[in-house]
Symmetry: C2
Subunit: 257 residues, 2 copies
């Protein structure tokens, strides 16, 4: 479908964007992957790639990243963070990847090296999103089950996860983009443990939650679980912004020294 929409436009043959869209299913982190078109394989995790595209001459990088997610997964207007450019001359070493680019973009000349600008997005995997993903033949793959991807997309995903840690350190709100609107303390803890790759003490975690004013406990609890039902919490963005301020300026920052 995206081909009909865009084949008239002029693709810049040297620059692309790729999007690492991260989701959290309550248990594991997942990445949104799409099939290389024209390649059908029974094996789920093969012949897949990150949603991405060459950029068009009329659009900024950020616009291109938004467009790609809209075209390939039906996702509109989410918070995309540019985190790294990948420009090794070897990243198009695999002929199948080169062929795919030429076919996908209806290019008449040989693809040379492509520099790609990688974006990160953290989203809630909800019904609407999974439905959209299905329609676009995109899927949410557990990070532990990602096979060999096209180009250097495995490396890009690696870097994305390294980036998240640093990013979350200065933007604690970011992880709440991954959690559902109503979440349990255990889900939140699991997410922190995955992010920081270490176990966290249950009691200390509860204490911390209770001290964060922007995490508000709800009356609602789990139902139908074969054990004591967990309380739901929600993230209150307004309160968060009051506390942390919304500016990202060079001033008003803290240090550990």
């Amino acid at each position: 479908m995206q081909n009909e929409l865009t084949k008239e436009m002029l693709a810049n043959p040297h620059v692309s964007v790729d999007c690492v869209v991260i989701g959290f299913d309550g248990e594991d982190l997942r990445v949104l992957l799409v099939r290389q078109i024209g390649k059908k394989s029974s094996e789920m995790a093969h012949n897949m790639k990150l949603p991405g595209s060459l950029i068009y001459d009329h659009e900024d990088l950020d616009e291109a990243a938004q467009r790609v997610l809209n075209e390939l997964a039906g996702i509109k207007s989410l918070n995309l963070i540019q985190f790294h450019a990948f420009g090794s001359k070897n990243r198009t070493h695999d002929p199948k990847d080169v062929n795919w680019v030429e076919h996908f973009h209806h290019m008449d000349r040989k693809v040379e090296r492509i520099v790609t600008i990688a974006y990160l997005a953290m989203v809630k995997i909800n019904k609407k999103l999974t439905q959209l993903s299905d329609e676009h033949e995109a899927c949410w793959i557990k990070t532990t089950e990602i096979g060999e991807l096209a180009f250097d997309h495995n490396q890009i995903i690696e870097e994305a996860f390294l980036f998240i840690r640093q990013y979350v350190a200065s933007n604690p709100a970011a992880l709440f983009d991954l959690l559902p609107h109503k979440f349990t303390a255990a889900q939140m803890r699991r997410l922190y443990e995955l992010t920081y790759n270490r176990k966290m003490d249950v009691r200390n975690f509860h204490k911390k939650i209770s001290m964060m004013e922007y995490i508000v406990p709800l009356e609602e609890k789990q139902t139908g679980v074969p054990h004591r039902a967990a309380r739901y919490y929600k993230f209150d963005k307004k309160t968060y912004n009051k506390i942390h301020g919304t500016n990202k300026s060079f001033k008003n920052n803290s240090s550990t020294l």
Copy 2:
């Protein structure tokens, strides 16, 4: 000079690298800037730009950044960190910048949009380096005295400083790349104050230094100063690496939660 060396090579007309090289003169932070060739101006801070260049087809992005600094400032093999890509379609809105690119790279066709990958380097401004800079007509401009630069280079420098803060938080050793081999506690404190944009308590700062095993006090002191002479310290990289470990993996990281 660089034109003789490279004009045979094929420049990619869509992708460039730009380097923000930061130095510290003991008092202020400075950025390495070069003149737009063919433009001589009596005013120091005008018609200047970051050292940068289109990339050539045979080189990786990182290689291109290294090459640029070698060609434009005589600097070899330093630690360059890629921190952001700038790809607004408006960044080549100024005809003088476009003309400059076409002239500098002997291009026969119109320049369109150029996506630039920005790199950061933190260096010691020593005699050797200032001499090299002079030879290449590059200069070290105080951050407070940077005028209007070519392209979006003012914005790139802004982003570089925002990046440094975050980077230093997870790589405390980075600031010692800016300090001379022998430095006083006051120099170090000044650098931290500039980096974090806030005053730091003198006594607490000394306490902190004395607790960092990798900052070793020397016997040597200042001479010829009209006040009590300050002790020199040095940064011991080996000790630092023993303490912090050298891996940047996803594991072995700490959290504040």
